[in-house]
Amino acid sequence: MFIDIYCTQEKKYNQNTYGDYFVSKRDPETDRLLAVLSDGLGSGIKANILASMTATMLLKFIEADSDVRKACEIMMNSLPVCQKRKISYSTFSVINCNSEGVTKIVEEGNPQFLWIRGNEVLEPDCDIITSETFKNRKMHVYRIKLKEGDRLIFCSDGVTQSGLGTDKFKLGLRRKGLIDAVLHKLKEDIFISSRDLSKFIVEFACSLEPDRKAKDDISAVCIHCRTPRKSMVFTGPPYHMEKDNYYANVFKDFEGKKAISGGTTANLISRELNIPIETPVTRNIGKLPSVSYMEGVDLVTEGILTLTKAYEYLEDEDEMQDDAAGELVKFLLESDCIIFMVGAKLNQAHYDPNLPIEIEIRKNIIKKIAKVLEDKYVKKVTIQFM
């Protein structure tokens, strides 16, 4: 079972940074997905510092399997104290689950999470732990078992309090309103990705605010358990030419979506598998060669330039355009487990100093892409050199 997780955030109106903070980590060795969402006291930089300290510390603690009560005591004692309010405060939701669906959740101060199975919201039991030093702080500990298709939704109070004071939502959206909105959305699209669902929740919460000006930081974290969508990106010719046929067949037999990135690579696959390539000469969008087509292959692009651009888009999604690199990014983000088959053969022509722009080394750019896919988009990435 693959756990698809995504967080979308919006900052409070007129603030230049987010007061909520989200961190997550996939640990392939222990087969765990760890994530923390924290909402810092106040807004802006102060809240950001509190929330990021909280989230980062807690992530380290759960990574090390520390006792949750102890971890929270240490964390709460280390937070800087607000000069105005004389308290140090930040809420948190800690998520720790594995691919079997065994999940432990600890919540303090955030709105209670939603656990959705089918069209129902489940209400699990919890243990309440009271902090020794901070009597008003109670941690809710849930131990649940997720099944395929289940969804979890965590949010900061910016979501449940959105629309507060407006005619329609005098007390804000609240848990009930959030449940209605999410179930309605799921009826429309039962397979919606965590990314799109979290974007929908944040967008919906913003739309309830007068003039769409968020009164508080708004964050939504969505988790979806499902069978993994696998994909393979084949880029660069194998180092030993006699292995061309072997790797072309590995590509052919792969079960999942397939992309080729590289002109020579596409020729190689075309030659070995006897599939013609169709390369339309249309005015390319942006500064990249347009995509080509091969039967049985979901995407065929040029290599280094497209990969380099795709890396830029992954780093900054706002830059994304509808060109070949944009298509490659879409291909990657629609997958959960991605295998990069990276040919180690060098293209001498790329090292010609007369080339007007710097051309990256394939291995390096793939490593960079893999890192951003793992760290920012929480994908499972495997790189195989050939």
């Binding site: 590289g262 002109g263 020579t264 596409a266 020729n267 390539i277 390369t279 339309p280 000469v281 249309t282 005015r283 390319n284 500064k287 990249l288 060669p289 347009s290 080509s292 065929v300 040029e302 290599g303 280094i304 330039l305 293209n347 001498q348 022509a349 790329h350 010609d352 007369n354 080339l355 007007p356 722009i357 051309i359």
Partner: protein, 84 residues
């Protein structure tokens, strides 16, 4: 008369060395020769790796003739030669 086939290399090297501009050939050729000449792209024509002097990109082929450091003018001249 047999059709003339023009192939523009869209590989990395050729693309950065100028084949991105050669895509205008599609419209120019259509206007000038109509359906007698067909322009298509290629993911890579493989000349950059096989030629000992690989700085001759971009490459274009007009039927069997390889044009190095191709420009729109050079390609049009070659098409004229093929058609005459």
């Amino acid at each position: 008369m047999a059709k003339v086939s023009v192939k523009i290399c869209m590989g990395t090297t050729c693309f950065v060395m100028g084949s991105s501009q050669l895509q205008d050939l599609v419209d120019i050729v259509k206007k000038k020769y109509g359906d007698d000449v067909e322009v298509s792209g290629s993911t890579c024509l493989n000349y950059c790796t096989h030629s000992s002097e690989y700085s001759k990109a971009p490459y274009v082929t007009v039927n069997d003739t390889v044009i190095q450091e191709a420009t729109i003018d050079k390609v049009l001249q070659e098409i004229d030669r093929k058609l005459s």
